[in-house]
Every structure is written in structure tokens, then in C-alpha cells.
């Protein structure tokens, strides 16, 4: 799953990616646990739920429009954006990111020269997560829509 997220690495930064892969400075290895998998799992489950919600629970004749589908897609992406952004922001705020990923320090004074991961990286990760959610929503839609009574021809006729 991390590999897929890393298509967007240039967006949210290699250092945040390393953190999400589970890099731990103290062990010099990826021992913290793979955040990509957990975030990705949430993304898959939430998106799957939203697709099922749209096609089988709401399943409403008046929702059989491309704009209704787009609306649900945006809501899904929005939720996944918030999740990705808040989760990484929380790690950032609570100093859970390894120091070597967070900062460039002066080798003699150990003073922080540059902060490598900032809030904007977190926002960008949220955007990456939202983009993936949109792509997955599209894929799930085309996989699952066929059996929907009222929305199977949404977003485009089959």
C-alpha cells in the first residue's frame, strides 16, 4: 500500500513517507509499524462503505445523476483528506516522528538548522489520501454499480 502512496511522495515529502513506512531512528530500522497500511485500510473501508452507501443503501432514483455521484466522491475524498491530514499532524504535534526525519541539525551544536516535516507536508499528505480515495471510489463504483437497482447507470450509462 505504501508503494501506492509513494506515487505522491513528491507531494508530501520523502521524510514524511519514511515516517509513515515506520522508520525508527533508535533502531535505525522500520520498526514503528507501517502507517501506510493502517491509513490505506481505513481509506479502502471508508471508500467501500461510501460506494455501498451510494449504490445500495441510498439507491435512490433521484440520485441517479453524475452530480450526485460526484458529491459522494467529494465527501469520501474529504473524509479521507481529514483523516490523512489529522493523523500525520497528530504525529507531528506529539513528536512521534523520528528526529532525523524531522530536522537537520548542526553536527557540532546539535541545533536545529532546518525542519524537514511541517504542517504543509501533513496537508499535502491529506491531499494525496483524498486523491487516492477518489481513484478508489471510481474503481469501486465501476466494480459494484451493476447490481444497483436505481443507480447502476451512474455516473455514466452502462
Amino acid at each position: 500500500m505504501g508503494t501506492i502512496y509513494c506515487w505522491f511522495e513528491s507531494l508530501f515529502g520523502q521524510d514524511l513517507a519514511e515516517h509513515l513506512w515506520g522508520w525508527d531512528m533508535s533502531t535505525q530500522d522500520y520498526t514503528k509499524g507501517n502507517h501506510f497500511n493502517s491509513i490505506g485500510s481505513v481509506l479502502v473501508l471508508v471508500t467501500l462503505f461510501m460506494v455501498v452507501l451510494f449504490y445500495y443503501i441510498i439507491n435512490h432514483p433521484r440520485f441517479n445523476h453524475w452530480w450526485s455521484w460526484i458529491l459522494v466522491l467529494i465527501i469520501n475524498s474529504g473524509m479521507n483528506f481529514l483523516y490523512g491530514w489529522k493523523l500525520t499532524l497528530s504525529d507531528l504535534s506529539n513528536n512521534l516522528i523520528s528526529d532525523d526525519l524531522m530536522y537537520i541539525r548542526d553536527v557540532t551544536t546539535n541545533a536545529i538548522v532546518t525542519q524537514k516535516i511541517t504542517e504543509s507536508n501533513c496537508v499535502n499528505f491529506g491531499i494525496a489520501n483524498a486523491t487516492l480515495a477518489a481513484i478508489l471510489f471510481l474503481i469501486f463504483s465501476f466494480m459494484l454499480r451493476w447490481w444497483s437497482r436505481n443507480c447502476s447507470t451512474c455516473p455514466i450509462p452502462n
Binding site: 435512490h60 432514483p61 436505481n150 452502462n158
Partner: protein
Amino acid sequence: MIKSLSMLLASGVDMGPNISEVVPIIIDVDKGNEDLSRTIEILKNYEAIHAKVVSGANYKGFFQTKQTNLFQVSGNEYRLTIQDVQGKTFGQYIDYQTQTGSQKDLSNLLFSGNQDDKGKPKPLLEMDMAIGFQGNPKLGCVVLNQFKGNQDFNTFAEKFVAGDRIFIISSIHGGTGAAGFPLLLKNLRNADVPTPNPALLKNALIGAITVLPYFQLKEGDIKSADFISKTKAALQYYLKNVNPSLNSMYYIGNESNTHNYENNKGGTNQKNDAHFVEFVAAMSVIDFAMQPSNVIEVQGRRFLEFGIENFTNSIDFSVLGNATRSMVQKPLTKYHFFRMYLDEQLSKSTNRQPWSNRGKIKITKDFINPNSGFYQVLDSFNKRFGEWIKEMAANDPPFIPFTAGAALLNSISNTPAKKSGSKLRMQNFVLFDNYLNEAERKIGNPPQEQKFIELFNRATAKILSERYN
């Protein structure tokens, strides 16, 4: 009445296992009669729609019963040609001018009366027959006594097969019907060579409805004040000469609560609004068709009238008896829903809802073009259906089965839909689209016209079963 029968058959009223085809034959010398023109248009459209939508013998639903024009080959539109009447006066028809002696005296005795013509008296012998017999059965029974040897009558006899039934609809207070009914019956019961299939005709199961006065006319050439006396005389005659030969005889009429129609003798001006009595008369055809042969095989035993469970000044399904309701309420309501959807929702849902754009056979905007193809015919038929409902509602007594302007689920008069458990539950056309989409899954890929009608057959049935008791 044929109009009402066509509307009932269009809505899918079942005629039972004995009858799968109706062959309407109209006997009316008044070719230009506007009511007749409307009826023929309805029959032609019905036939065209039936041909497109019925997929096989097992099909049940809208337009399921075939209606056939027996005289298509001769170019007649459902009408049995009465020869020698067009452009002739009654005197010319009986060769009054060439009659002499006792023959002429007899004609003078029988036909010496006058008929009002634009307020002035005109001798019956000078009456133009192109617009019918204008309330004079004594003229009708002379002119119509030509079934034997009539080419169209022979065509009918030729096509008649064992198991076929005959039903004669006539009014008792006019000219053509009152005169033609006993003559027609006599020609059937006494059929003989060279008429084809005489034995079959003689022994055919024959039912009839005689329509007693149910409207009055404004002051004019035809006097509706005479209707009752003419009716009494005819009933007296029928008692001995008609009733014993029938397998079923139905009576319907409405002495009070009648509208005064325009007093037109015939032609394009004769355009009477549809009436509840005609609707009931049409049901008698269906009742007769549904009877098992052993119930009606004895002649002169079965006589029926129509009653309403709780008569009020306005009639709807809720005041009809159970037998009537079970015959017509469901199919008519289904058709009403169908027509309402076509009028108010179809263009909005076509190309958008899955029932329209899913599957191999799609219902496209081109298909629902009211100016061409199948939909044009259907649209034209439905306009007549709407007109029919509207006219019956405006007549007296008013028959108002559906409430105009109401939302779909509130549109059956005095029959509320089941209360919805939740405000989120689908209603009206949304519910309709939902059931159409459901139906689309089960229909497969028949031709476009069949798919279209079957979608509505199923969806309307589902609305009734889910939302009404």
C-alpha cells in the same frame, strides 16, 4: 360503449379463458357521426398498439385482448356496410314513387308521419338516411333488414367458428339500435344457407345489452320526451320476440340525473360525452365473456341489471359493488398511473433512469417522440383515455374514479394509499421510477415497444400491491 370497452381492454381487464379476441362490428348508417369517428380512431390505435406490445398467448397486461377489424380487406373500418342508404331518402329506398295501389296505401299507413327538420315538419318518406334513422325504429327495421346476403355479414359468418360468442349492444330508445337489434338476432337465430356457417350461428352463445334512456336532449328535432314510451313499447316487444332467443340479456339505464345533450340528429355535430352508463354497458360484455358456457347455454334464462353498492350523487370505485370493483379497479388504476407518468414524468426520466438506458434495448428520447412511430399512436390513444375519464367525471351522475391534479398516490378518489412509515420513504414518481428500475431487471430484451409497456405493467402493479390494500 365500444369506446368504454376499448378503454377497459387497454387497461388490461381480463375477459377470462374463453375469449382472447374481440371483433367489434359497428352497424351505423351515419358515417360522419363524430362519436363514431372517435370510436374508430380508438379502435385503430388499439389494434396498432396491441400488435406491437403483445408478446404471446401468455401475455397479461395493457392491451392484452386483441381487437380485430373484420372488414379490413374491404376497406371498412369496423363498420358493417348498410347498402343503398347513402344519398337517398327513405321514400327512394322503398321505391315509394313507383309503388301503386295497396302497396302505396300500406306505405302511407306505416310511414305517414313527420319528422322535425330544423323546427319544420318533414314527411318521414323524405328523410335523408345518411345520418341514421333519427329516432325512428320503424324506418330502421325496413332498411336494416338486409343482413341476409349482405357481403359484410357473410364475411362475419364465414369467419365465425365454434366457441365464438356474439354480444349485441344497442340502445332501445333511438332508431338504429332499437330497430337493428331484433333484426340482427333474428338473422342469427334463423341463419340458413347461403349464409356461411348457419348451424354455428343458430346455436351461438348470444348475449346482449339494451341501453334504456340515460340522457335527455335539449329542445330540437329529436324529442327525448318520447324515449320512455318508445322504450316501453320496445321492451314489450323484446319480451316475447327477443328475450327467449338470448343466452344473456343485460339492462342498463338511468332515468334521472341526466344531462341534456345537444340535439343533433347525427353527423359531425353528434359528439356526446362519455357516460357512466356506457362504462357499465361495456362491463356487461366482459361479464358475458367470462361466463362458463354451461352457465349461459340455456336461452331465455339469464337477465341482469346493474346495481351500485352505495349510490351517491358522485360515483367512484369505493361505492361500486365488490364484483364490479374486482373486475375494473385494479386495471383501470394501473392504466391511470401509466398515463399520468407518461404525461408528467416520462420526459424527465427517459435517458436518465436505468429503466430507460440500461440493457441492450433502451427507451430513448426518439422512442418517446409524440410525433412519430409507436409512441405517437399510444399518445393519441391516451389522450382519448384522458378525455373519456374527464367526460365521465363531468357527466351526470359523475363517475370520478380519479382525482384530477392530485399527486400520484393520492389520485384514486376516496382510496387513500397506505400511510408511509417514514418521510424518507419514496413517494409518487420517485417510487414509480424505483419500481420501473426494478422491473427492468426482470424483463430481458424484448423489442422496444414490448419492453416499454411491460415495464409499466409491472411497475404499476407493484405500486398497487405495495401501497394499497
